[in-house]
Symmetry: D2
Subunit: 343 residues, 4 copies
């Protein structure tokens, strides 16, 4: 009946569609140099309190990661990332295809800590090795966890003391900034990272990621072009981000997704199926028996089942979005309840 | 008053926007594996009479070129292209960034001929040289010219006799297939090329190119992913192409663009400003004095002025689109008429 | 007094130098197509009992690894290697610079096991991930351990069942084939791997690695050329390998290096400094106190000290070579003996 | 009887071999950090009167070109080279394989002029194009011509005014510096270029190119390592260059090669076979009938025959070297004389 497979199962928030329709007939120049993009970029700089920052709009997450990381690195320089990081696992080697090694460090919760960064730095001491230069983090992480301001501040200090850049992949940044306990703001990110993205695709846009570069990088548009990351009708990105940023819609949508996730989590817990680990964000992980999972799928529910937990059980992922209705959550919980053995 | 700068100055045809709105709430899986994409691909196979062909949807032209060419080539293999070819000039070295040389051959009219192909093949005879392996052509070309069926058939034979692949960049394919004198069809392209694209961006879509691979290439989706060319909400591409292909809208839009271009051309000729060369398609080139050009710009017209012709004159490019109203053409001609010296 | 830093601290065995001098005046064609290379390749095919194998000569180890791995892989394909593997650590990201990810697996002894291979294969199941395609092993490994024939046979079967290629980096192959307990032969390697190298640089040559490809790879010379790995006077490689292979000199030199290593090991053990782990080959590892290490260095001995073992002790590496005289080993042991506290 | 195919048909000058033998037993550290390399680098700095220059030793010409050009360029930056340039034609796309476009300009004599450079710069004006950044020249060129000091000075000025780097491939630099009419010195090159190489392979070494970087480039050794261009026994390069630089041997050898070439040229002219164009260096080009060429080959002479001149004649290349005896030249001329029709 409902897919919890991902937060990009639907199209866009109606306001986004409406803005596209309203601006459709206007003629603009291409490639993201149009007034919509310029204004959206200005809004983002204002929201980030970063008047010097450079803002670019790209189409998707992997594209944003590969273009940005390649642009920020020199040859022989490498990335440090959690072994669960999107670039470590789920981008088909996109970073390596630009020539850069990803030094993946095991992480218990999907976050990168100062200790992890330092262990990589320490073990790369000779000119026969790559030069670790950029720390990649995602927020929320791939396991739904969220960085605190203290953690980001510590990472920044660690990066500074080792001459490293800090890049935050914000494909699910809305969820991170609005979840329960969140203490990080856009201005924090603009001052603590060298670059970060604000994901639109997973939070109400048809597509689109805004990239914020703390310090200008004049050749960045060349990098984008060379990787096929300049949209001819770049205006589409500006228009969408303007719609999302208007009156805080972006944050409202993310808050809704988080609320649906917590509703799911609490319902699961009440059914005796506690979350596999603590995620305050819009991805929830729970271990169910394979027979229950099959029954849920037969009932028409969709979700990811990538992580087997022994022969009979699997850790499933349930993702809520800006579009998830509470009824869908409740229906899922009811269906699950009917499937579980009586305790 | 009007921009003839490009054929992607506006948004999308209303039918496209409407289809996006109508399908917006439906949940689908991501990455172009949804029912909309599957059905659009099936429609394209039918239109091409190529039931075995593989169809992929990508976001833009440079992205399509770089992913496809890199996927079709082995290391050390090179592309043959006209010196005016989009990949030779206007993609910021995107092909070379994937490791492949583009052997650019001077072309008088933007087309690649068998003679040009053979001159490159002949001069690459040793293992110290790259191996020419793929012929890149664009149709329409960057100078507005269009291949005949005889020319494409000859190129196919030439490619076959030298073991070369033939790839046609159809960013402006609509215009090529519907212009006056056009004798090429989609089934022709499917049988004469190894791969070709049907451009949506420049003919009524918000964005999107359909790529048709004559023979299946099972790893193609990995290539796309690795280059950041898999759209999370891939459905957007399927929905748009379905809307464009419905009842021949795609061809109607292209025909309109061509008609507007011919109206422009005839008007220019009547004003004593004949086309710089014969283009049957939606790009027209004309040489004007720099003072006239400045006056047109001051009057609010936009167009490209890349090609100086001596110190006082410039060859300008005027592009019409599916959205160009005849009134815009006529207004431009009137403005120009008032600017020209009395003959 | 003596450097145990590496097995390439000296020049070449006198027979190699003599052969270079004797053939110096002869004119030959370039690029490894000369009679010396052709004959050395034929000899290697005979020694490997692999009449169909393709043999190439390259200059050094990193070059051989990067050219071979890149030539054997398609885009999006990745390598599986031990985390200690030379390509994982000590080649400055050379494999990634050709666009391929190295999936490094933790290994307790520097070897890759079937279990490790299968864990990587299992976790790479989607088109959003790289495709593991080649298993890289080194023999001897970077920690001095040596594969048994049973281990290689098991790896071959594992590779076959998963469609993987097996490549063995034989930079120290001489030591592996001649060490105590060795049960692997050149014909074994030719039948169990898809490609392997016979290292000359670390076993008596000035420089040079022979690469044996089980199945012909016609474009391999293009790959070499494109990576700058074709030596103009390629004959130098053929001449050197002919000299090394004559009357088994290659194996005699390796045997000597191994004997010197065992002499060292036994002497260390007798002094109460047992090897840190069991290495039958020409690299020995032993943990000494930092003060002892400093004293040895002051006395003029050289060796690598990359691996701290807590604050006061370090695991040092001692490498013997074809050129190491027994007197150097004994002098080292004597010096150490004088430095150790009386037990 | 003699091969004029190339200037690397023989081994090394006896002094080089002798130096390798004399230093063979010494233990040194690896990778070009040994005393021989350090001293050879110091000598080169002195000869170039460039105390700040960075000197590296690489194995061959293509390797030197690809490592240096890739190290000097940022992504999206491109090289300007003559269409006959070694990197444009004879390196199997090595530069493109590092991701950089080579903008090849037609050149009548193998040299790059300021006009050519400016035509490329002028036509690369937008962010959709590569950024020309480095001018590649070879001296002597691939057609045997030699740059004058005036030409190099003009190129330097042109580069400065456009923010371009100037790199000179000196694979045949010895011949260029010692030919009749030469007015360029090593200090000139050090002050006029950003980087240049002094080729050993084609002038008496077994192998080896010295690269001189006008301004230090601290990461250069990483680039070398990543491309497999660091020789384990790097000392071999230092020892060879020391031997070649001792008492001007390098220049004497080049002078000899040039003298043999002029002897050949004058002999050819006397036989009614004038040089196809004016080359003061060790490569001579002459057009002969195909039947004469076949007869010379049958007689045992070797040379390149890459350039057909119509159906019956071919422009052949004759290369002399430090090792070419005058008798070989005279014998060739006698053989040719006997083959030519009586005039």
């Amino acid at each position: 009946m409902y897919s919890f497979r991902n937060d990009y199962s639907e199209g866009a928030h109606p306001n986004v569609l409406r803005a596209l329709a309203q601006t459709n007939a206007a003629q603009t120049c291409g490639y993201g140099l149009d007034p919509f993009c310029l204004e959206a970029a200005a809004q983002i700089r204002t929201l980030c309190r970063a008047p010097e920052a450079e803002v670019h709009f790209l189409t998707g997450g992997t594209q944003t990661n590969l273009v940005t990381i390649d642009a920020l690195l020199q040859p022989c320089e490498a990335v440090i990332a959690a072994h669960t990081g999107h670039i470590s696992v789920h981008e088909a080697g996109a970073i390596e295809a630009t020539g850069h090694k990803v030094c993946a460090v095991p992480s218990p919760d999907g976050k990168v800590s100062c200790e992890m960064v330092e262990s990589v730095v320490r073990s790369h001491s000779s000119e026969h090795m790559v030069i670790p230069r950029l720390v990649y983090i995602s927020d929320t992480t791939e396991t739904g966890t969220v960085y605190t301001k203290a953690e980001l501040t510590a990472l920044r200090r660690c990066c500074d003391s080792h001459g490293l850049l800090l890049y935050l992949d914000g494909a699910r940044l809305g969820s991170a900034l609005t979840c329960s306990g969140a203490d990080v703001t856009l201005p924090d990110l603009a001052s603590l990272t060298d670059a970060f993205s604000i994901g639109g695709t997973k939070n109400g846009a048809l597509f689109g990621e805004a990239l914020i570069l703390a310090s200008p990088c004049p050749r960045f548009r060349w990098h984008m072009k060379q990787r096929g990351a300049v949209l001819a009708k770049g205006r589409l990105l500006g228009v969408q981000f303007q719609a999302l940023l208007k009156e805080g819609l972006y944050f409202d949508l993310a808050r809704h997704a988080n609320e649906m996730a917590q509703r799911l989590r609490q319902g699961l817990e009440a059914l005796g199926c506690p979350a596999a680990w603590d995620s305050p964000s819009n991805q929830q992980f729970v271990i169910l028996s394979n027979s229950t999972i099959e029954a849920l799928k037969t009932a028409g529910y969709e979700f990811e089942t990538d992580h087997p937990e022994g022969p009979d059980r699997t850790c499933i992922r349930l993702v809520t979005s800006w579009a998830t209705p509470p009824q869908a959550v409740d229906a899922f919980l009811n269906s699950l309840s009917a499937l579980l053995p009586i305790r």
